[in-house]
Amino acid sequence: MSNGLPRAAVVSAFLRSFLIQGSWNYRSMLGGGFAFAMLPTLRRLFTEQPARQAALARHLELFNAHPYMSNMALGAAVKLEAEGADADTVRRFKLAVRGPLGSLGDGLVWATWLPGVSLLALTLYWMGAPGWVAAATFLVVYNVGHVGLRLWAFRVGLAHGREVGGRLAKADLAGWTERLQGVASMLLGGLVGAVLLGGDGLRAAGPVWVGVAAAAGAAGLLVGHRSWRPAAVTVVAAVVGLSALGWLS
C-alpha cells in the first residue's frame, strides 16, 4: 500500500508515465497522457461514475512539462487524489508546477544529458572502441539517467505531494545541470582531439579540414562553456559523423 492505494495502482501509474507523450497535441499537450497514467488511481478512488469522470476530466486538461520531470507532478497528483484533496487544489498544483518541471527538465535532459551522453559515445568510438560498444554505451548510460530521473521524480512527488517545491529546490537540479555541462564541454574537447589525431579522421581529409577542426576546437575551449547549446553539439556530431563515414576524406 502507498498513500492508501494498492501498490499495483502506484506501480501502474509509474509504468504508464512512459507513455505520457502518447497523445500529445497542441490543445492539451501532455493532458491525455497524464490522465491515462492517473486512471488506475482514479478507478480505485472513485467508484461512482460521475465522480470518476469528473476526476478524469480535470486531469485531461492542458498540462505541459518535461516528460521525465512530469513524473513529479504525476506522483504528487496520485498522493493528492488519494488524500482526498479538492479539485481546485489539484488544478492549482498542476498549474504551478508545470513551469519549473518544464524548464528544469529541458535544461537537464535535452540541453545537457542527451548531447553529453552522445558525446561520450562518439568520443569512445573515435578512441577506437567498436561501433556496437559506443552504441551500447549510449543506450545504457542515457537510460540509466532517464529511468533514474523518472523514478526519482515520481517518488519525490508521491512522498511530498503539493510540497515538492522545497524538495526540488534542495535537489539543486540547476546546479547539477551546470556541472554536467562542464563535463560535456570537456568531452567535446576530447572528441575534437580524437578526431584530429585519428588515422581515419580529419587528418586524412587534408589540411583544410584539420584547420577548420583546430579552429573549432580553439573556439570551443575559449567560449564553449558560455555558449553550450544542443544545436552546436549537433553540428559537431554531424561533422564527426560525416567524417566517420568517409564523406569528407
Binding site: 492549482r92 504551478a96 508546477v97 513551469g99 528544469l104 517545491g165 529546490a169
Partner: protein, 164 residues
C-alpha cells in the same frame, strides 16, 4: 527603473516569460499580483523555482496598487504579472496604469471564452474590461513573445467578434 513589462498570462512565471521576455528585458524581479497566491506559501515555492534566479514577489491586488510607485522607482527592473484580465483591470482602476503597455499572453480556453488569438481567449466581461483599461490611457495588445507580431486591441477585438 520603470516596470519593464505588464503581462496577463495564466502561467505566470514560466518559460515564455522567463526565457522569451526575460532574455530581452533582463528583469531583476517578477511581481505576481494575485490575491490567492499571495496567501499560499506552497504555490509561491513552486513558482519561484521557475524564475531563473530572479526575485519573485507575490502581492495581493490592493497591496500592489499601493506599491506600484515603489516598484516603478526602485532600481530593480521589474516584470509585473497577473493570471487574469480581472486582476489587471482592478490594478488599473483610477488610471493607475495610464501610459503603460500591457501585453496579453497566455489566456487559455474556458467556458464562456472565445478565441481572440490562438493563445488569448476572452469572455465578454474580459473584453469589456480591456476596453476600459485602454480607454483610460494604457496601451493594450496581444503578444506571446517579444519578437512576435504585436496585435493591437482593435484587431484583437475584431478577431474575437468573428470567432465562434
Amino acid at each position: 527603473m520603470p516596470i519593464v513589462l505588464y503581462r496577463v498570462d495564466e502561467r505566470l512565471v514560466h518559460g515564455q516569460v522567463v526565457i522569451g521576455w526575460g532574455s530581452q528585458l533582463h528583469p531583476d524581479r517578477y511581481v505576481v499580483v494575485d490575491d490567492d497566491l499571495s496567501q499560499s506559501q506552497w504555490e509561491q515555492d513552486l513558482y519561484r523555482l521557475g524564475a531563473g534566479g530572479a526575485e519573485v514577489v507575490f502581492s495581493g491586488c490592493t497591496e500592489a496598487r499601493g506599491r506600484l510607485a515603489e516598484w516603478r522607482d526602485a532600481p530593480q527592473r521589474t516584470i509585473l504579472l497577473t493570471r487574469d484580465v480581472a486582476t489587471m483591470s482592478r490594478l488599473a482602476e483610477g488610471g493607475a496604469l495610464n501610459g503603460e503597455s500591457i501585453v496579453l499572453g497566455g489566456v487559455h480556453p474556458a467556458p464562456g471564452r472565445r478565441e481572440a488569438l490562438t493563445y488569448v481567449h476572452l469572455t465578454e466581461k474580459e473584453m469589456a474590461d480591456l476596453a476600459v483599461i485602454a480607454a483610460a490611457g494604457a496601451d493594450v495588445f496581444g503578444g506571446d513573445l517579444p519578437d512576435s507580431q504585436r496585435v493591437d486591441l482593435d484587431h484583437l477585438r475584431r478577431r474575437w467578434n468573428s470567432s465562434n
